[in-house]
């Protein structure tokens, strides 16, 4: 049994995200700040004729949050909890497949929302539970957006 994960960099931290929920990897995207929004969901972007929320993993990670007018070089488009969200990251690499034995319980990394750990790039990376993070932000108010097929485009950081 293999699990496909996308390495993504936020600040100085590399993490792994489930590839099956990533629909696209875009470049830097201009986003519109939501007045009074929390740092975890600071704005919206336009994607395929719809507005989708931007969720910022840097906020729970305690690294440099997205400030108004700032962008990150890559934007992951993810389908989570029947919603589509944009996750700005500083870099993203090609999908890596891990066996279940390569995924170990969290013991080295200290990031919140870590589900497991795996070794890549000669370091230990946390596998982040993006669906849980997004569910907590959206608070159950998930819009009924389409459930189209997942298309993952190869991307380099």
């Amino acid at each position: 049994m293999m699990r496909a994960l996308v390495p993504a960099k936020i600040g100085q931290a590399w993490v792994l995200l489930d590839a099956e929920i990533i629909r696209e990897i875009l470049g830097a995207e201009v986003w519109l700040p939501i007045p009074g929004a929390r740092a975890e969901m600071p704005g919206v972007i336009a994607w395929r004729g719809r507005a989708i929320p931007v969720v910022d993993l840097a906020a729970p990670f305690g690294v440099g949050r997205l400030n108004t007018g700032e962008t990150r070089s890559r934007t992951l488009i993810a389908t989570v909890a029947e919603s589509i969200v944009a996750v700005p990251v500083d870099a993203a690499r090609e999908v890596h497949a891990f066996t279940t034995t390569e995924l170990r319980p969290v013991s080295v990394t200290t990031l919140p929302y870590a589900l497991a750990e795996a070794e890549l790039f000669e370091r230990i990376l946390a596998v982040i539970d993006l669906p849980r993070f997004v569910s907590e932000i959206l608070g159950g108010g998930a819009p009924d957006l389409g459930r189209e097929g997942i298309v993952i485009h190869a991307a380099a950081g």
Partner: protein, 150 residues
Amino acid sequence: MQPRAEAAASRAPLLTISAACGTWGIPSSAVASVEQPGTDAASAPLSLLTLLGVAAPVAPAELARVLVLRVGGERLALLVHGALTLVETTAADLLPLPAAVQSLTPLLSHVAVVDGKPALFVVSPERLLQAARGAHAPSPSHDSARGSSC
């Protein structure tokens, strides 16, 4: 080439207000007039930013205007501060806000895309009217918890 009638039908021009806290749009079809604020404090119109829950820095009085909206046969006067501009958009440029964002900003209905980028939020005149009714109704106190500074 798009037929003229079809093009006219898809037009959705916005009156935009560029304030220190950001830019907001109101469908221009709902704007009956733009007026100078009066001097009678007792009949002062509600502030748009107050209704939106945005705490803005004090703006120069010369930037103040009163937008008079016509919503479903009712008249709503709003005090705004900032540069007013008419922006030509089409219905396709107005993207409905996702529910997660709507819950945070109930008076906003759409994001307007200008030059391919999300440029401003569109305020719903109907929801503004409802909020204004609530603001005029007797209430124990202002809901300052929803306020946010920019």
